[in-house]
């Protein structure tokens, strides 16, 4: 494992998000962090990418504590695509992708042949060659996200971390982005670790899933092992039927709305002790699964 969080405590000022959290990103795989809002999955990703310094414990990259490495050093080994990206005004796709070479260049060193090649390659594998001269703000959501991913690729790292790369995208664009990441993993051997909101997308694309709740890692493993009705009840507070995806055979969670919930009472009964939503909603009656909300 090249990248690993060891017993980290993560906090913003005095607000502690996670305590004693350990997770290791499996090399050469696509791993996905899921969990309800505020569970600390994005925070965990930030600490793994050196954007947030743990207040206790450490993140280890290639056997070294990440905070001891310079930010430039880290940028040469892992790329992070944060959430909520806003491209500078009137910038072309190619100009944007060139930023990926930043960690490899000194202030005065001009771009070399190797830089040029990797930028070309990044544009090519993300399918952005024909759009290289287009302005980023004129692209569709999926194309824009592919341009940002091309920027990360141009960093030339084997590790790529992404924080909710599909948020706010139409489903066709979500598939476009996730297919691209899948291809990068299979064809280029990139290790991909990302936070996703949609657990069914996670199930389809992940080799390894981390499930987080209240700042703790509650489960990890293959989608089939991890994504059960019990997990969804326990972590997301929803009643659901988990079926096998008719095409991929992976688990597919079908949430059940309130009225039909009695029909699936056997599921609820099976997971009764853990459906208690009181942990996330103190003060509310602990035996009313109807107060549980579906993830947005």
């Amino acid at each position: 494992m090249r990248l690993e969080a060891q017993h980290v405590t993560l906090a913003y000022d005095r607000l502690v998000i996670a305590e004693d959290l350990s997770l290791a990103i499996p090399d050469g795989k696509v791993s996905v962090l899921i969990g309800p809002n505020g569970c600390g999955k994005s925070t965990a990703l930030r600490s793994l990418s050196r954007l947030l310094s743990p207040t206790a414990g450490q993140v280890v990259l290639d056997g070294e504590e990440i905070m001891r490495l310079s930010t430039k050093d880290v940028a040469r080994r892992l790329a992070i695509l944060p959430q909520m990206l806003v491209a500078p005004e009137s910038i072309t796709v190619e100009d944007l992708v060139w930023f990926g070479r930043h960690p490899h260049r000194g202030a005065l060193r001009s771009a070399g042949k190797a830089d040029k090649e990797i930028v070309e390659w990044s544009l090519e594998v993300t399918g952005m060659i024909e759009m290289r001269r287009r302005f980023v703000d004129h692209l569709s959501g999926g194309q824009r996200q592919r341009a940002w991913i091309a920027l990360c690729l141009a960093q030339g790292t084997d590790l790529i971390l992404l924080d909710e790369p599909t948020t706010f995208l139409d489903v066709a664009y979500q598939l476009e982005v996730l297919d691209l990441l899948h291809e990068l993993n299979v064809n280029q051997g990139k290790t991909v670790a990302m936070v996703l909101h949609d657990f069914n997308m996670a199930s389809e694309y992940a080799d390894h899933i981390f499930v987080m709740k209240d700042g703790a890692l509650v489960k990890e493993g293959s989608p089939t092992d991890v994504l059960t009705a019990a997990t969804f009840a326990d972590v997301f507070g929803i009643t659901s039927q988990v079926v096998s995806h008719p095409v991929s055979g992976r688990p597919l969670c079908i949430p059940v709305k309130g009225r039909e919930r009695s029909a699936t009472a056997q599921h609820a009964a099976a997971t009764e002790p853990s459906t208690d939503p009181a942990a996330s909603a103190p003060g509310e009656s602990s035996t009313t699964p109807t107060t549980a909300k579906l993830p947005a």
């Binding site: 040469r76 944060p82 202030a107």
Partner: protein, 341 residues
């Protein structure tokens, strides 16, 4: 830098724009030599180039007007580069030395030196201006900072701190009536009666600080991607931001120290440049600098001509040009922010 341009065709826009602007500035400078003095016309100014102007006229122009034209260049460059950096770093199109309090802070600092320590040599005034500008900028940043600086808050705090400095300046003026006139002219921003020694005093600031800013050009662009991505790209965000902010504040403060509080140049020059060449710092900075110089030259010439033989301080003219432009910008940004991204 041209090597970069060759290897990254789309990363560099044409250098024709800043070069063209520089040529315009040169023409403006020569024309400006022939403006505003009773017996000298534009013909005499251009005659300097061909050698057809008589030596007495030439020496008048070179002694009295050359220093102030050089100062127009330097002040315009310093203010424009400062504004371009501030707008980039704070990611706020309304950021400028005047808006974030640097100009008035530097004014107050210089006034304190000028009036409270009359014994202080002229060389001490820039020190006072510099300290005042940096202090005001720090105050504004501290009050506006709330895990990031929003556009509106920064502008509002800047206005408040500027008003405080203004109050201080007025208090000093009231307390020291004998020096009022010189102080007032200086405060409006003027390059009147400046000599070559002022130029020599200011030149090193520009010669040192502007190249330093250019050295940070690509990092400025990286900061424009947002803090997280910039850090992910290996940029020590906080450190870089503080360094370039300090450079910008130093440039603006030193300009104010020599020419008084010339307003709006630092705001509108980068905006105009961005429209011409786009937002990449490496081409934006020289273009903004040349537009800043052009604005100063034009404003100073206008100030000398319109109410002859009276002279209008250059800062008044830039305010007359810049005020409406600023309102226009405000209206435009208000529109884009309310209609959503």
């Amino acid at each position: 830098m041209t090597a970069v341009a060759l290897k990254e065709p789309t990363q560099s826009r044409s250098w024709a724009v800043p070069v063209g602007l520089a040529l315009i500035c040169l023409v403006l400078s020569v024309a400006s030599l022939g403006m505003g003095t009773a017996d000298i016309g534009i013909g005499d100014a251009f005659g300097l180039l061909t050698g057809s102007t008589d030596s007495a006229t030439a020496s008048i122009m070179l002694t009295f007007l050359a220093p102030r034209i050089l100062l127009c260049w330097l002040v315009g460059i310093a203010l424009a580069v400062s504004g371009a950096v501030l707008q980039g770093v704070i990611r706020n199109p309304l950021a400028a030395p005047d808006i974030i309090g640097v100009t008035k802070g530097a004014g107050l600092g210089a006034m304190l030196m000028l009036l409270l320590f009359p014994a202080a040599t002229a060389g001490m005034i820039p020190v006072g201006a510099f300290a005042g500008g940096v202090l005001a900028a720090l105050l504004v940043y501290a009050f506006a900072y709330r895990s990031g600086t929003s556009a509106i808050r920064l502008a509002l705090v800047g206005i408040a701190i500027s008003a405080l400095c203004e109050a201080g300046i007025r208090f000093l003026i009231v307390r020291n009536p004998p020096d009022i006139n010189a102080a007032l002219i200086w405060l409006t921003g003027s390059v009147f009666g400046r000599s070559m020694s002022d130029v020599w005093q200011f030149l090193p600031w520009v010669l040192v600080l502007v190249p330093m800013v250019v050295f940070y050009a690509r990092r400025l662009d990286v900061l424009g991607l947002g803090d997280d991505l910039a850090a992910g790209l290996g940029e020590p965000v906080e450190r870089t931001r503080r360094i370039v902010l300090l450079l910008a504040v130093a440039l603006a403060s030193s300009a104010v120290a020599v020419a008084g509080t010339v307003g709006f140049v630092g705001l509108i020059a980068p905006h105009m440049a961005r429209r011409l060449v786009g937002g990449r710092a490496l081409t934006l900075l020289p273009s903004a600098a040349m537009i800043g110089a052009a604005l100063m030259l034009v404003s100073d010439s206008i100030g000398r001509v319109v109410l002859q033989p009276l002279e209008i301080p250059v800062g008044l003219v830039t305010a007359v040009i810049g005020g409406p432009y600023f309102l226009y910008l405000l209206a435009r940004t208000a529109k884009t922010t309310t209609s959503g991204k």
